[in-house]
């Protein structure tokens, strides 16, 4: 055991001499995770809206209908309209205070009803691209709507716009009824063409009955275990790479001529990896759990499990890299393993947002499996028995991979 400690002490000192590598192994996943979170809507800030200035020079019933359409349900979430006169509107647009200015000319409604040509002017802010485009699209849709409404309900609308006959202030009940019936009949006639067979889309989130999503856990939480495991994958790759650096320095061969030998050297390396990872994971887990308000009483178990995952992945990387014929080959081989595992195993994209079939495959990758257990520990989802079984499997797999690595190291890798 003292020999193992000698080897571990050496590796801990060496790893600490290269803090940049440690920071990179764990910093890159944090960066990737943070970016992914932002891309996928983790940002809780207000949505950007199209600021549309409207110069309504017609100020009629028809023009008000057009302006009101920008504030309807749905469109109202996207558009923020503000009435201005044309001169003010142009000045403010020049100052970059809005996305677009819509100018509704005088006699707009009248021209529409009389089927005379009229022109709506949309002036866009050249400094913006998406927002003015949205205003243009919306106006185009509304223009089509106005055209079809006029074609179908032109006489009725014309009567409404003209106002009550004989100088009255209000329409008589009979007139209102007549217009309503007439409009209703037109719509009914068209209904069979306009309304196709009803297709109603129902969506339901299928939850695994044994693992209900805990209330109050934000979506961003699902990135935490993935980021941790991604960091462990990178770290494992780095630790695996270290054995090649030792070989190239000739120290492995020299160590084989000492009583230390390959197995104690390997055990020392794993002990050093465990110590380094435990220290870093402690900080990362504490920060993550505190951020998501998870009870810190689960921290020790999560720490032990995460360190175990780190050892499993390191043993895997050691075994893989030692079968390569050169250092460069080992690097390529390890990347070929790390990136697919990262993509599939829920580290880059949480299983929750992956297609179900892909998530099912990903759960069988070593990191995917380990990640699920970590999530279960953090959310206190499973009872003790599944955890005991998982720990047993973790120990067995790690031991198996270490055996492969040790045999390779002692019989060939360290002697060349």
């Amino acid at each position: 055991m003292r020999d193992v400690l000698v080897a571990a002490n050496k590796d801990i000192r060496r790893f600490l001499r290269d803090p940049a590598a440690l920071a990179l192994w764990l910093g890159i996943p944090l960066l990737i995770g943070g970016l992914l979170l932002l891309v996928m809507g983790g940002n809780q800030g207000p949505r950007p809206r199209v600021h549309l200035l409207i110069a309504d020079e017609d100020d009629s019933f028809g023009s008000r209908l057009l302006v009101g359409a920008f504030g309807q349900e749905g469109a109202g979430e996207i558009f923020h309209t503000e009435k201005v006169d044309q001169e003010t509107g142009r000045r403010r647009l020049d100052d970059g205070e809005a996305s677009a200015l819509l100018v509704i000319p005088e006699r707009f409604a009248e021209a529409v009803l009389d089927e005379e040509p009229t022109r709506l002017v949309l002036v866009t802010n050249p400094a913006q691209r998406i927002m003015p485009g949205l205003a243009e699209e919306m106006l185009s849709v509304l223009s089509d709507g106005v055209f079809y409404a006029h074609r179908l309900l032109g006489p009725q609308i014309r009567e409404i716009v003209k106002g009550p006959p004989d100088g009255n202030n209000f329409f008589a009940n009979a007139q209102i009824a007549q217009m309503s019936i007439s409009m209703n009949q037109t719509i009914r006639r068209l209904q069979r063409y306009l309304d196709g067979p009803a297709i109603r889309l129902e969506t339901a989130a299928v939850e695994q009955p044994s693992r209900p999503a805990p209330p109050g856990v934000p979506f961003a939480f699902y990135f935490l275990p993935g980021i941790l495991v991604m960091g462990l994958l990178f770290a494992a790759q780095g630790f695996g790479d270290d054995i090649w650096r030792e070989r190239e320095a000739g120290v492995l061969r020299r160590a084989m001529t000492t009583p230390l030998g390959a197995w104690r050297l390997l055990a020392g390396k794993m002990l050093a990896v465990a110590a380094i990872l435990a220290a870093i994971l402690l900080i990362m887990l504490w920060a993550g759990m505190s951020y998501f308000d998870l009870p810190l009483v689960r921290l020790p178990l999560a720490l032990v499990w995460s360190t175990g995952i780190g050892l499993l992945l390191t043993a895997m990387m050691l075994a893989i890299q030692m079968f390569a014929s050169s250092h460069r080959g080992a690097s390529v081989l390890s990347y070929l393993v790390v990136f697919p595992l990262m993509m599939l195993g829920g580290s880059m994209f949480p299983f929750e947002i992956m297609p179900p079939w892909l998530a099912a495959v990903g759960r069988f990758t070593p990191n995917g499996w380990a990640l699920q257990q970590l999530k279960a520990i953090l959310l206190a989802r499973d009872g003790p028995m599944p955890l005991v079984a998982a720990v047993a499997l973790l120990l067995l797999t790690t031991a198996g991979l270490l055996w492969i690595a040790g045999v390779r190291l002692s019989r060939r890798f360290a002697r060349c």
């Binding site: 003292r2 050496k10 320095a249 061969r253 084989m256 001529t257 009583p259």
Partner: protein, 309 residues
């Protein structure tokens, strides 16, 4: 001591070491002299347990290396040809690690680290990372890591390769200090001068086989009073053999189109006759070098080529 009997090591069809036999004594330096690729390092690797011999027996301190590997390794110090050091650690940390690997602990380790640092003249750079050391300093530390546990048997594989003359002198002094302590040293080199200067007993190895063995005086006796004449120029190899066969005491050791090597008895008296004979074959002589009897001349006599070819 080291006893090697009938050692053979094959790599596939290549026989790297073939029937090597020698004995290295306590308090003496046994040198393995030979060109690069002769089998010196393979022999050392077999003795240190790094390689498993194909055939033969190796005993170190009366113990079979294959049967008692761990026990032997505790008494064995190995200084490999490459600088097998952790360059990201300091000299002290390197010595502590290798001392620990050989089983030293606590105060014993601490005092030995200090002693070795002093012996290697590295005390003032003890805490500095090895990657900042000069080549000579690294070589000294490389040696220090091999002797930190005071081994009874020390295997030195070309420990002076690539170092400046001053560092070489210091390294050789350090090796002598170890021998004076009673350590049995096996020393491989392709520097003839080093072997002549340092070794009590020598074996000359080429193509995996020992071609001569004995003390320095034994080996010199094998050369006799022969001088070696090396001629450079253009030579007709067929005509030369015939012409030289007529000169008594001149032995053709090796001949190539641009170089001729001859072993001569009574060199000075034979030179005019020899030059005339060579010139008569139509050869062009551009340079002639006459060397006194040495290991180099023995090597040429035995193999027909120079040691560093």
């Amino acid at each position: 001591m080291i006893e090697v009997e009938g050692l053979q090591k094959k790599f596939g069809t290549l026989i790297a070491v073939d029937n090597v036999e020698f004995t290295a004594q306590r308090g003496k330096i046994f040198g393995l002299l030979g060109p690069n690729g002769a089998g010196k390092t393979t022999t050392i690797n077999c003795i240190s347990g790094l390689l498993k011999p194909t055939a033969g027996r190796i005993r170190v301190l009366q113990q079979d290396i294959e049967l008692n590997g761990q026990a032997v390794k505790r008494q064995l110090g190995v200084v490999p040809q490459e600088l097998a050091l952790y360059e990201d650690l300091s000299a002290t940390e390197n010595l502590r690690f290798w001392g620990g690997a050989y089983g030293l602990r606590g105060s014993e380790l601490k005092s030995r680290v200090r002693e070795v640092l002093s012996q290697m003249e590295l005390l003032d750079r003890a805490q500095e990372r090895v990657k900042r050391f000069s080549g000579g300093m690294k070589r000294r530390l490389n040696l220090g890591c091999g002797i930190i546990h005071r081994p009874k048997v020390l295997l030195l594989d070309e420990p002076t390769a690539g170092v400046d003359p001053q560092s070489r002198v210091r390294l050789l002094e350090l090796v002598r200090e170890e021998v004076d302590r009673g350590t049995c040293v096996l020393y491989t080199t392709h520097y003839m001068e080093e072997a002549e200067d340092l070794c009590d007993e020598l074996a000359i190895i080429d193509h995996g086989r020992i071609i001569a063995r004995g003390t320095l005086s034994d080996l010199r006796a094998m050369v006799g009073q022969s001088d070696v004449l090396v001629l450079s120029g253009k030579f007709d190899t067929d005509g030369l053999r015939e012409a030289l066969a007529r000169i008594e005491g001149a032995e053709l050791a090796g001949v190539e189109p641009d170089e001729l090597r001859l072993v001569l008895q009574g060199a000075t008296s034979k030179l005019p006759e020899l030059f005339a004979a060579v010139a008569a074959t139509g050869a062009e002589i551009r340079e002639a070098t006459l060397t006194q009897p040495s290991l180099e001349s023995l090597f040429i006599k035995l193999t027909g080529k120079k040691l560093r070819e």
